[in-house]
């Protein structure tokens, strides 16, 4: 059995670094992410039809739904990896309107506020594990190499991989790589973490160690949006579930309630299909 790392709830890192203080840190009850009427098109194809939802600080939201329903696109709009064509996303008090250009400064702040974990890990293969986790701290946060590496070691220990620090990603299993990718995303002390199907590229057994890290991250109070096909994670770890189909939010609610008693026929069909596997 894989030994799963224990994440200590530790001091929260949703931190007041100066950029956020200037942007006005949202009150705990105020939404930290607000998505309004979000539209994304690829040519004539509409990937997202006027999506809207909110996320409070400390909340964990799972986005589920069939393939091609726009889940990943929605997630990628939150940190502007995709530029929406309409609507508006507000992240930590900063408004990003669809179809507009954003300043470098605004995007820099956004990306320090939001960490992201990808389905295919996307670790940098030519760098050691330690460098993977420390590089952005030096380049983006302006930390010294020593500070960056100390923080990186601390995070690697948190995900249970401190002993891998000097190795290259190719030497690690998929599950280990994804845990490193989580450490890398945490290194800039984001307020919000985005997970884009973090276990879909993994064997079920390796997926478990990643889910354990995510669960503990959630318990430590991190605000998270998780696109996932892991129905148990959606039900047990997330506070709320958003169900998407055909570029629309078709249902949304507290996770236990929604997963056990879905209201729409489309959600029932989807849950039935994935649970039958």
């Amino acid at each position: 059995m894989i030994q799963t790392p224990i994440l200590k709830p530790g001091p929260r890192q949703d931190g007041p670094h100066p950029d956020h203080a200037a942007a006005g840190r949202p009150q705990p009850s105020a939404p930290v992410v607000r998505i309004e009427n979000l539209v994304k098109r690829y040519g004539a194809y509409v990937a997202l039809h006027e999506i809207g939802f909110e996320l409070k600080s400390g909340e964990v939201v799972a986005i589920i739904g069939p393939s091609g329903s726009g889940k990943s696109t929605l997630l990628r709009c939150v940190n502007q990896l995709e530029q929406p064509d309409g609507g508006c996303i507000t992240v930590a008090g900063q408004r990003f309107e669809g179809g507009k250009e954003h300043s470098r400064a605004a995007l820099d702040t956004l990306r320090r506020t939001v960490g992201m974990v990808f389905q295919s890990f996307n670790l940098f293969p030519h760098m050691t594990i330690l460098r993977n986790v420390s590089i952005a701290q030096e380049r983006v946060a302006g930390r010294s190499r020593k500070d960056a590496e100390d923080r990186a070691m601390h995070l690697l220990a948190r995900v249970g991989l401190a002993d891998k620090a000097g190795q290259y990603p190719a030497r690690c299993s998929g599950g280990q790589q994804q845990r490193i990718a989580i450490a890398r995303a945490l290194a800039l002390d984001p307020q919000i973490m985005l997970f884009d199907e973090p276990t879909s590229a993994l064997d079920p057994e390796l997926g478990l160690e990643v889910l354990a890290v995510m669960r503990e991250l959630a318990e430590s109070g991190m605000t998270m949006i998780v696109v996932t096909h892991e129905m148990r994670f959606a039900e047990n770890v997330s506070d709320r579930v958003v169900v998407m189909a055909d570029g629309r939010v078709i249902e949304e609610g507290p996770s236990r309630e929604l997963m056990r008693d879905p209201k729409t026929e489309r959600t029932q069909r989807f849950l039935h299909a994935v649970r039958d596997r």
Partner: protein, 212 residues
Amino acid sequence: MEALTQLARGVPWTIALTLTSFLLGALLGLGLCALRLSSSRVLRALATGAVLLLRSVPPVVWLFIIFFGIGFGYVQLPSFLAAMLGLALITAANMAEIYRGALSGVHRGQTEAAIALGLSPRHRFQDIVGPQMIRIALPSAATFAIGLLKDTSVASLIGVQDVAFQVNALAQRSFSGTGIFVIAALLYIALSLPIAALARWTDLRLRAKVAR
């Protein structure tokens, strides 16, 4: 024996010309590649035109154009400089294409991860995409460099006293051309071996790190 010493006198010129034109060309090629991928249509078209032009005219013609054409009447370029310039431009065009191919071999997720981490465009290239691109470009670049080593022989036609120049001079004096040409061939092979070895060694070293 006397023939050998004279041939050897050409070796430093051949090496110097290969090295300088390759390094300059590899650097200019980066710029040219960047222009080819620029978001401006005008710059893209110019760069594409330049690559096409540089690659479809034979090196010897370029050298003549630069040495006799540009040099004549305006600035008289020394033959070595003219040869270096011409070969560097040709190298730039070829390297630009090699870089471009290598770039498409770097997984898109690498750039996305770098963007998500907030790395600036400069750091995205310098730290993330660039090193991976060079790693992919290396074998093709080495192949090109060996070709370039041989192409430097055209510089003898504008008076650079490289190996080919010495061969010609010897052959014209001694009447025993064949032997000298064979020796020259062996010399070119000997010079290209270190390039191949260096490329292979670097490739293996880099591969060892990222091997699956």
